[in-house]
Symmetry: C2
Subunit: 241 residues, 2 copies
């Protein structure tokens, strides 16, 4: 299965000034496509740290997505970090610079050249109706941190990723998690490949545990669900969907 | 300054089924105390991955906080991972087991022994009015994933951390970020120690950039703010607070 890592770059997240909404968005999207997100890492705007983590994630996962640090100011050092990760020089992309100049008109100034300065060999692709293109280096997609732009830009990536979607079933259980733990363990002995989640809920009036059963094989999932329901006490099931 | 790392353990976050609210909560709290949160890492419920990352974070930061994976079910393997990180055996804490039995009464069963099975030498401390204590190993605080419990339990940690709070000033600027980028660069040459953030906002009617100025030294911060305001064009400042 294709795997992915997500690198969130931004002091504003670590200092609690901004809530990272890109991670939950990306996690849901990748799940829908069927790409396994294996790691979400938030780090400061620091060239060496970015370089180290980009290099590692690029090695460990099929796809890497980064968020943040590609604007015109002093604290936007993601391109520097990605360039360093792959030992590439940074170069002005003249076509991109012209494009930024056209898009920003009277507001264009020298600091925007920074936004057109990319690691040598970076891939510059059209990105839907956004004037700023989608930029990638090796298997690393470099996205902006602003959520509305991040989300729009993800559409261009989505088309380029192939996964096998995972099917999810949910069972809402009225018993305490500890009362059903042994049944779950037995289920996993019978269905070793089942992805089984067990999540206690303390503020729900109608159930105490949400179980999630997942698989890329629908038949396998159906059989596991049937086996689970047969194991649980009759009166303990609130709902299945 | 004291530093911290936060390790979020949970497939449910990576698969997009649950939104991680513990990270923004912890980031804000640590900022208030004045502890520098340097990394937030989300990983799956996997003993070896947990062990590796706990060992690394414990080495890299003064304090480590983990979230999730300490319940009674098969996918709760945080204690196993922490034990492995420090090469410690897992042992039943009889006093804790008795405590769990008293707190859960009729619902107590074998699977709850798992919740009382801790790495040898783990520190078990009272945690406010919560019946489940605060557990730590070396410099690693092991917290539950359920947000209401995580937040309550953090109170016990808060008392044990000493930081120097950071003071924050905000400047809301009507100009585009690219128009003020050079002024920000000059400011940072004059005030090298200033923590300066620049965040473009595209949906605000009254301003285009939020600047944040931060320092642990109030006098230094005041001088930097004065210098910034003198650099920016007169009509570009929407608000300062």
């Amino acid at each position: 299965m294709p795997t992915a890592g997500f690198l969130v770059i931004g002091n504003e997240i670590l200092s609690g000034k901004v809530v990272d909404t890109n991670s939950p968005f990306l996690a849901k999207q990748l799940r829908e496509i069927g790409v396994d997100l294996e790691r979400i890492l938030t780090i400061p705007d620091d060239i060496d740290i970015i370089a180290h983590e980009v290099r590692q994630m690029s090695h460990d996962y099929d796809h890497v997505v980064t968020s943040g640090g590609i604007g015109p100011t002093h604290d936007d050092v993601t391109m520097d970090g990605v360039a360093k990760a792959f030992d590439l020089p940074l170069e002005l992309d003249v076509a991109l610079c012209d494009r930024i100049e056209k898009a920003t008109g009277d507001h264009f100034n020298e600091s925007m050249r920074k936004m057109a300065t990319l690691p040598r060999g970076a891939l510059v692709q059209e990105s839907g109706d956004l004037w700023f293109p989608l930029i990638s280096v090796e298997n690393v997609f470099i996205l902006p941190g602003i959520p509305s732009l991040f989300e729009k830009k993800f559409e261009s990536i989505r088309e380029q990723l192939d996964g096998i979607p995972i099917v999810l079933r949910r069972v809402y259980v009225k018993a305490y998690e500890s009362e059903i733990a042994s049944h779950l363990n037995e289920l996993l002995i019978e269905f070793e490949e089942l992805m089984l989640g067990s999540y206690p809920r303390i503020n729900e009036p109608d159930f105490r545990v949400l179980l999630t059963l997942e698989s890329r094989d629908t038949g396998y999932l159906d059989r596991a669900l049937e086996s689970l329901l047969a194991r649980l006490p009759d009166d303990s099931i609130h709902q299945v969907d």
